[in-house]
């Protein structure tokens, strides 16, 4: 799964966020999704998608060594995470999410659930699909 974006296609529906929270937290709560949808309205009128591209910079800065890579995916070990927020600052994609009820930041684990439900192809899997 190589998550890629085609932001011009995003309709802002946030289905990606709902399924992300359901799948990864067992909660219906888009504020816990690892993908952000940011509208730019009234001008110029489009949506921006902020999501992790597994670059690993977060792991490099984490003082608690709580972020580890397996198969190209970086995961946060919630036990080890101290909630210091260094990784949030370091993320060049501004993709880390904070939620008041969670100590650890929320980060994409490339599960592909959002890809499955993005009808618009705005989030897609570059391994299996050409840009729409």
């Amino acid at each position: 799964m190589k998550i890629a974006l085609n932001e011009a296609r995003c309709s802002g529906c946030r289905t990606c966020q709902v399924i992300c929270s359901l799948h990864n937290f067992n909660e219906n709560n888009p504020k816990k999704a690892a993908v952000k949808i940011v509208g730019h309205f009234p001008t110029p009128g489009h949506y921006e998608i902020k999501i992790c591209d597994q670059c690993g910079l977060c792991a490099a800065v984490c003082p608690a060594e709580a972020i580890k890579e397996t198969d190209g995916v970086y995961r946060i070990d919630k036990e080890k995470c101290t909630g210091c927020g260094e990784c949030i600052e370091a993320c060049p994609s501004e993709a880390m999410v904070q939620h008041p009820a969670e100590k650890a930041p929320i980060k994409c684990v490339a599960c592909g659930q959002c890809v499955e439900l993005c009808q618009r192809g705005a989030i897609y899997d570059a391994d299996t699909r050409e840009v729409q």
Partner: protein
Amino acid sequence: MYGYGGNILRINLTTGEMNIQPLSQDMAREWIGQRGFIAKILWDELKPGIDPLGPANKLVMSTGPLAGTLVPAGGKVSFGAKSPATGIYGESCMGGHIAAEMKYAGYDVIILEGASSKPCYIYIKDDQVEIRDASHLWGKGAIQTEKALKDELGEEFQICTIGPAGEKLVKYACISHDFGRQAGRTGMGTVMGSKKVKAIAICGHNSIPLADLEATVVKGKEMLKGCFAKENLDEWQNYGTAGVPVWANNIGAFPTKNFQSSYLEGNENLDGKIMREKMVVNDKGCFGCPSPCGKYCYVKPYNVYTEGPEYETTALIGGNCVFTDIEQIGYLNYLCDELGLDTISAGNVIGFAMECFEKGILTREQVGMELKFGDLESFKYLVEKIAAREGIGNILAEGVKYAAEQFGGDSIKFAIQVKGLEWSGYESRSAPSNMLAYMTCDLGAHHNRAWSVTHDIAVGRKVLEGKARKVIELQHIRPFFDLIGCCRLQWVEIGFELEHYPEVLRYVTGFDYSQDDLMKISEKVWNLTRAFAWREIEDFGRKYDYPPARFYEETVTTGPNAGDVLSKEELDFLLDDYYKLRGWDLNGLPTREKLEQMGLGFVVRQLESYGRKIS
């Protein structure tokens, strides 16, 4: 409570008091949500005869159990109050993201009571609720206000606002949200303005509890994918309702020249394909929508951004005021949106004024300029006068019915409204079922409850028999979506099946409704809002259900249905049939038997206590 935000938030703007009460199981099960909650609360809490723009009126904002979940298009919220436009039950529905946000903040219902003495906005972050000063926003456009508050509070807030028209209490002011979604009808923005509330800003961080999370995920995915697989999905998401004007014209249903005709010369220029090529910059959807119909536009010649024009706007500003340039319509749409005016009523009012001028009922002296159909300056001039309530605008701001009463002549015959609410965008002299649908809509002449032009075409446009039955069926199904917090357009436009909803409601809420139960609840709400009108108006009944005389005395002037008219006898046939099938008396009033059968015994007792004679 499963499927719900779980609470009712009540804010008294006069005293500044607030309280949060849990939503009861019984309320949820018996009224489902959104329009069900609104109707019940307004019935219980409003005293008949109150001034709709006084502090005794309440603005109730509510969404339903499927909003904010994985169920397709759960992004709808409704606003209700006693309508300043009609004096009866008022309500308007809106998409966007604020319905979901309300529930994440923990609320199914927000009730605004009383009135603030100075401009304010409501700030809601989970259980932190504040009435904040809005003097810096007062006077600003509806869209500008949303932008200013987003900048101030943060992108994660969902915000609804009113424009200057709402502040000035124009009777058809709308509530605006998500940079182009509106609760347009029955003056809900007017009620908000009367309370001096410029905006409601909401941000929530909580989960919606689900009765069966796993089953909801499986079913939600199945429903979404079912929508994705629909054959006409692409047509719908490419053009949205902008695909409709040409079709409506070809079948002779496009309101033209203040409904003189149902056919507009030059309508081919309003085609969705032309609009897409010239103006669309983004396909924009509401929360959870698998089929985004919002066409976000940049209108180059006028350098403005606007969402739409939607079909209804193109019909009422375009056809009704005779504009055939989609960019001009886009620009006028932008003006209405910023000013915070319902484009349906505004297009009706301005088309009406143009006709009055043409007929000499209005003069240059009265208006301040010469009005002409199809003249951009005329529209601009009037819309600004209306929003500011200046000069002629002060009369037009009251709606076509009141304006006709002031202007005199025979103008009441072509004031296109029912119960004081301006007619939605389908000329219906050649569509008896649709005519009946708009005549009997509980809100006035609005398409939200039933729309049946395609039924007329399918079974015969002159046929009257059987039409009432179809209208009633649709009046239960269509507004059913306004009970659950979902968009109806997946069902209407891409053919998504109704059968899914009882099942998914069970997974989300744990309540086990059959399809039939759901339709019964929809019917119960229908009877309640009809009773609301009767409680307000002593002589309410059949005479309030007629369309303007234009539709039964004048024939359609041009196009495929030129010469068509529905006689008063034909309208009476439709009404008789309709009332009978509804279990109402011949005057169109709910009977004791019907109300009791619907579980509305409390309505019978109240109506009687106000001296209404129930048969």
